[in-house]
Symmetry: C2
Subunit: 304 residues, 2 copies
């Protein structure tokens, strides 16, 4: 944390484990959250895209928040995704996040209707803030147009940040277009623009960025933490090269199935490969190739 | 109905009324459903896109289903939209629809993740069918790629229809591309492919199509029913021209705000203009222009 209620560093959009009947495996989820913090994650962006959050019911998410609290996971480490298509669901989840003591929430815009205008999205955000009515609320706008299609435009980010200072405090940029993050960091110093891909983290840190919220943190947390702690100079270059090589390998596969395959391999627990439809496990031959590539990278790192 | 459990004719994706605090106005909803049946609708596709269904929580939808049943609206007239992003929600809603005696359900594919393959969507549908486990279940696949982005491809429709005969019995085509409906009607006679736009209804009826599920049915039900009952010959041409002129007028505006504006005007009740964000009411000057255009059409129809 750089300031009260403000996140910085490496956050994991925590993968959600499912049992073979596709029900949520709460115990495994809580254990995995603790493991990620032990491995160096600064925070847990539970219920992100990588978490298959939109494949979970609201009730399932409320149960998981309660389980995290009961297990003693510190609320200030949590940045749950709470944005849904339906205002009542968004409000209910956001309130539950506050009850769990969450340091912030990651707000996806309502994403069913397309070609909606900024005014409509502004109202969606303001109605959420007004109804949650909690001075502790810290919102990070979740911008992921490749998947949600609906995104937070830069003028809209500016409007919300100006109208709700201390409440709308940051964003996560998963657009794949670094110029969006860069635009925010240059124009609004202090507004916490996280990159959704660690390949842009070093550049963003140079501009005063807060860090990254990245799928890779589920499977490469220690290295990402090392990069965050040592991003400057020749050492930073070296770590950055390794982190980016890992990411580029991951990007050759569908992200969520690949992340779950890696966790399954590391834990020796094949149920980690369960995904809810419409997603499905990485085919065996692809998983084998991925493991081989990651082994080669690890060997290289060991030599260098 | 052309056969037990099979819909035919004109169905309305019923607009959902909201109070000024944006809560669902259940009484008004039930009354409007009854009115649409009185005006000639063969069925009610509640919880469609025009219903802002994805802006409603699952609990709100369950409440509305119970209210319809309590009010004596016949279950066999209902084709509720039950497809959501999350399998547990889809199953819960579909079961509730069955409990309300619904003659069918309209199944949107899970629409958060993009670029998912047909196999993943096939599993989403089959898991739903397996879990609902009700021999009375009749599924109509809801194909609306302009909004959901994710759609049911023709090969996938064929696979589901072949694997679940008597269960996957039809679809609604809101692609805007009539060749999709036409392809289904030509290749699978008996599979109930509804057009999502009445401008294609006459052509589809000629190919044995079942009819239309269209936003316009909220505000032009009587004329649509007249067309369905008299689509052949010169009389059919004349009614079709009027119906299409109405639709073309509507298409000059954002559909859902326009539909609600027309209902508000007819009922003299401005609360009908309430929409949940990210949608918002038609601006006054646009509404005035829309009313003027519709009045001109009505005058023309009166003369002709």
């Amino acid at each position: 944390m750089t300031a009260a209620g403000t996140f910085a560093g490496v956050l994991a959009p925590v993968a959600t484990p499912f049992k073979d009947d596709l029900s949520v495996d709460t115990d495994r989820f809580v254990a995995f959250c603790k493991q990620l913090l032990d491995e160096g994650c600064h925070g847990l962006a539970v219920f992100g895209t990588t978490s298959e959050a939109n494949s979970l019911s609201v009730d399932e998410k409320l149960d998981l928040l309660r389980a995290l609290k009961a297990a003693g996971v510190p609320g200030e480490k949590l940045m749950p995704g709470t944005g849904t298509c339906a205002l009542p669901d968004t409000v209910r989840l956001t309130r539950a996040a506050m009850e769990a003591g969450a340091g912030g929430v990651l707000l996806l815009p309502p994403f069913y209707f397309k070609k909606v205008d900024d005014e409509g999205l502004y109202r969606a955000a303001t109605e959420t803030i007004r109804r949650v009515e909690d001075p502790q609320l810290r919102i990070y706008l979740y911008h992921i147009p490749p998947i949600a299609q609906v995104g937070w435009s830069l003028p809209l980010v500016e409007r919300l940040a100006a109208d709700f200072p201390g409440t709308v405090v940051g964003l996560k940029d998963s657009s794949g277009d670094y110029s969006y993050t860069e635009g925010v960091l240059r124009r609004y110093p202090g507004f916490a623009a996280f990159v959704g891909n660690e390949r842009f983290m070093k550049d963003a840190l140079e501009l005063g960025g807060p860090g990254t919220i990245t799928a890779s943190a589920n499977v490469n947390a220690a290295a990402l933490r090392k990069l965050y702690d040592n991003w400057q100079g020749a050492e930073g270059e070296r770590i950055n090269d390794a982190v980016c090589a890992f990411r580029r390998t991951l990007e050759q596969y569908p992200t969520i199935p690949a992340v779950k395959a890696i966790i399954a391999r590391r834990t020796g627990d094949p149920t980690w490969q369960n995904l809810r439809p419409p997603l499905r496990p990485l085919p065996e031959e692809q998983a084998a190739k991925l493991y081989q590539q990651l082994d080669a990278l690890a060997a290289l790192a060991g030599v260098g």
